[in-house]
């Protein structure tokens, strides 16, 4: 083990509670890998952690330009963290474009570690700096602590005798930076060494070079005078004992579907078509064959959902995953799933729209589409995940509702949750809710005829799957006669069936938990009502507001349709309800319409998540308004 506390020279180690770091560089600089490695090390070290990768939609945007900047932000802390940090304390900028694109989000007085080779004349020009201007030299960064490090030169020196080509050597520069950050935060190198050895199993030379570059970065921190005044930092690990894993939202969705299949005894079928930022759900499940998972990469979004409807009809736990444009294509098939009354999980990982919009950026703008985006009256349950780990619990819940209530369910995530990660204490199978499919048993010739649309007290029909003797029946998209399921154009029957389909979904409220207050008093001035990925920002902001003594509470909705039965009562206990949304105000319409109250909306439609400072400011302003 490298003893990270000991250094060759006596450099001070200062304890800190939390730090937010951004690794930023060109798309080709390996910043995602660097950030991920750093996050893994921090997680295993036992600190709390939240990560957020931010990269362009182009695979390789022009090198050196602002469009090509790729970033990986993370916050690690001795206390629970729910966001990657409103602003970062430390920024690694591998080139001038990375600095220019991100400087506005760096704390005043924050640390900049700049790879000087990315600040040469060519790079400065590509980043759009005026001729002759270099932020590292012209005093424009006077409000920050700047450490210019010739990363490329030092990497080349370290690897001079590695036997690698100069191109390969240059590619190791991100490991140098990683090593330097490990030194700065007194973190161990072993985890990354093991990862590199495993990754380059067949290319030991490459593994050694990467490890050597990382160690060179580490020892550079140790030996240079550059950091003498700053010193090093230590974020004490505070995690409870136990076994953990780090998951992204998309991975969590995939694990949840597989877990729900295992728990219910069903086979998982995912029909899907690749779309950013939802694709990792398909990719993760394609690797789960040893759990018996069947994935089908369809020719389009429509075939993705329709193949799943076919599998659901056959008795599988069927799912499809997509993002906005894909959900739009699936809407006709959703109508079919509603009228067939088969279980189906639809995971919609929202991104900026309309059309191709901002494919790699998050937004919460598909709520209306999820609730209403179908022809005819086709109600279905809509639930939303709040954090990467919650993507597991919410997707699992979507599967439970789908199977137990024989209905398609839309589970909303977004591009922020999809790619962000946090540590997850490994869940015990016993803690997962039971999921009980209600298969119709075989029928003997002397038994009364099978009625496909006969309902139980929750208005749920039974699941009669092919292969079951005596239940042969035909169903379809045409309106059906109550109970028999035969085609019917009878006017009264259509109205009855429309009501039954709606009432069936409404009664799901009997089978979901009541809404709870996440934080704060049960009565007070302001309730911040959120849904989806704004959880972390709201949670952090409300925590701070409470520390300041403000009368504020936070409730976060998982169940958007139907609402928990006590939601109206909770809303009534506060003078004002504040609803922050990453859209122009969608949940607020539904709350206003359902409860006839006048909430205050707070919109952000920029393709970037809310941060805690924005929410806190809004809360403070609103309190002043109430008090005046």
């Amino acid at each position: 083990m490298t003893d990270t506390k000991k250094t060759t020279r006596q450099v001070n180690v200062t304890s800190k509670t939390s730090v937010s770091v951004l690794f930023a560089g060109d798309s080709g600089d390996g910043m995602q890998l660097t950030g991920t490695q750093f996050a893994n090390t921090v997680a295993v070290h036992g600190t709390e952690l939240n990560t957020f990768p931010n990269f362009p939609s182009e695979i390789r945007a022009p090198a050196g330009t602002i469009a090509g900047v790729s970033g990986f932000q993370l916050q690690f802390s001795s206390k629970p963290v729910y966001t990657p940090g409103a602003r970062f304390d430390v920024m690694v900028a591998m080139n001038s474009a990375a600095l220019k694109a991100n400087l506005k989000d760096l704390h005043r007085g924050g640390i900049i570690i700049a790879g000087t080779e990315g600040f040469d004349e060519k790079n400065l020009k590509l980043a759009g700096y005026p001729e002759g201007a270099n932020p590292l030299e012209d005093g424009t960064l006077a409000n920050y602590i700047v450490f210019p490090v010739p990363v490329l030169q030092l990497t080349r020196e370290a690897l001079r005798e590695s036997g690698l080509s100069s191109k390969e050597i240059d590619r190791c520069k991100n490991m140098f930076v990683l090593g330097l950050l490990y030194w700065l935060y007194t973190l161990p190198l072993e985890g990354t060494i093991e990862t590199l050895q495993a990754k380059f199993q067949k290319n030991i030379q490459m593994a050694d070079a990467n490890i050597k570059a990382m160690k060179a970065g580490y020892f550079f921190g140790d030996e240079t005078e550059l950091f003498a005044n700053l010193g090093r930092f230590d974020i004490a690990p505070q995690k409870q004992h136990g076994t953990y894993r780090r998951v992204t939202g998309n991975e969590a969705c995939a694990i949840a579907l597989t877990a729900a299949a295992k728990k219910s005894g069903l086979e998982l079928f995912l029909g899907s078509y690749p779309i950013t930022p939802a694709t990792e759900v398909l990719q993760t499940l394609a690797k789960k064959k040893k759990y018996g998972v069947k994935t089908f990469q369809a020719e389009d979004e429509i075939a993705g959902i329709v193949s799943s409807i076919g599998a659901a009809y056959g008795g599988a736990l069927a799912a499809t995953n997509t993002s906005g444009p894909g959900l739009a294509l699936k809407t006709e098939a959703l109508g079919l799933a509603v009228i067939l009354e088969v279980p189906l999980v639809v995971i919609n990982v929202q991104r900026g729209g309309p059309s191709t919009g901002l494919p790699t950026k998050p937004e919460q703008s598909d709520l209306f589409m999820a609730l209403y985006g179908r022809h005819g009256e086709a109600p279905l349950p809509v639930i939303a995940a709040r954090s990467p780990v919650d993507c597991f619990y919410t997707t699992y819940e979507a599967a439970r509702i789908a199977v137990e209530h024989m209905t398609p369910v839309i589970c909303l995530s977004d591009g922020y949750l999809a790619l962000s990660s946090e540590p997850w204490k490994v869940e015990s199978p016993d803690n997962l809710a039971e999921i009980k499919p209600r298969f119709q048993p075989a029928r003997k010739p002397e038994d009364p005829p099978y009625l496909p649309y006969k309902r139980d007290d929750r208005l749920v029909r039974s699941w009669a799957i092919p292969g079951t003797k005596g239940l042969e029946h035909r169903i379809g998209g045409l309106e059906k006669q109550n109970e028999t399921g035969n085609v019917s154009h009878d006017p009264e029957n259509h109205e009855l069936m429309t009501k039954l389909r709606a009432e069936k979904i409404a009664r799901i409220a009997d089978n979901i938990p009541l809404q709870s207050i996440d934080n704060g008093p049960l009565k007070g001035d302001i309730l911040v009502l959120g849904w989806g990925s704004s959880y972390g920002a709201i949670k952090t902001a409300v925590e701070e507001a409470l520390e300041e003594g403000l009368s504020v509470a936070h409730a976060h909705l998982r169940y958007i349709h139907p609402f928990p039965k006590n939601l109206g009562e909770i809303l009534g206990n506060f003078t004002k309800v504040l609803i922050p949304e990453m859209n122009s105000g969608q949940l607020i319409h539904i709350i206003r319409d359902t409860f006839l109250i006048a909430p205050v909306g707070y919109s952000k439609v920029q393709g970037v998540p809310f941060n805690e400072m924005e929410i806190l400011t809004k809360i403070t302003d609103l309190i002043k308004e109430i008090q005046s």
């Binding site: 953990y244 780090r246 040893k290 759990y291 075939a303 076919g310 599998a311 048993p441």
Partner: protein, 348 residues
Amino acid sequence: MTDNDTTIKTPPVLTAKDFASDQEAKWCPGCGDHAVLQQLKNVMPELGVSPENIVILSGIGCSSRLPYYMATYGVHGIHGRALPMATGLKVSRPELNVWVATGDGDALSIGGNHFIHTLRRNPDLNVVLFNNEIYGLTKGQYSPTSKIGLKTVTSPSGVIDHPFNTAALTIGSGGSFFARAFDRDGKYLRSILKRAALHRGTSLVEIYQNCPIFNNAAFEAFASPDNKANHTVYLEQDKPLIFGKEKNKGIRLDGFTPVVVDLDKDDLSPSDLWVHNETDINKASILARFADDKALAEHILPRPFGVFFAEERVTYEDALTAQIREAQKNGCATLEDLLKGESSYVIK
């Protein structure tokens, strides 16, 4: 999963009537769909599959009402999407016997993308494509197989779209089975449906089906006793391509060009003719071109019926099942394994 009756009994001998549902077929009188339905009911008992293990799926259109009239499992889906629905079902339940009823609009227009991709993947589905060269249910608009010049409500001056050639499209999409049959020739249709059912992979059967209301007599050239013999050739494996009222016409291959010869006049014997081989994709591709309008207009080539092409190829669901078996060769992983993952770490 289900409470299946596990006691072993001799299965009763089923008849076509056992496959008729209690719903009355609501197609127009004289519609070719009635004939296809009847042959499907006739062929079902011959397959040795219990009704509960048969599923018929469909899209939208006149032909897509078919599942309602069969006493099997059935789903009447949405326009053009029966094939992916059937694929999802078959992949999830490979033991089921899955059929798709579709039409020229459903399969080749709105469902065109699914058509080509299903064929290349080759799930074991039996696809019955009712081709009446018209949109019936929406009342008479031209379809992607309507002939150039056909006047319809949406082509009052005549169709200008070049029509799809179903056979060429099937073979070009990598389909493993293509056959053509005719609604009026029930016995032959039944034999073709049986061949399709026995083929493992996606079997595409194009049925020329008359719409007496909106496109009557579209296939009259192959139907009337006067013309039929001279305008059709029935394909039989390892048999020469012979046709004509007097069985005196044949087809020879001159390089890649099929040529009609007169066995009496040209001093040729059947052994000089093109011998049908349904495993030969090149010959099947040439046969597919017999349907092009030019050929018919000039009375050069007869329209082929029967199995053009049949290839043994792994089905999609078998390939997937094999991958899953390989992944599970050391046993099926548990829920506990899943939740723990492969990169968990312990905090002490």
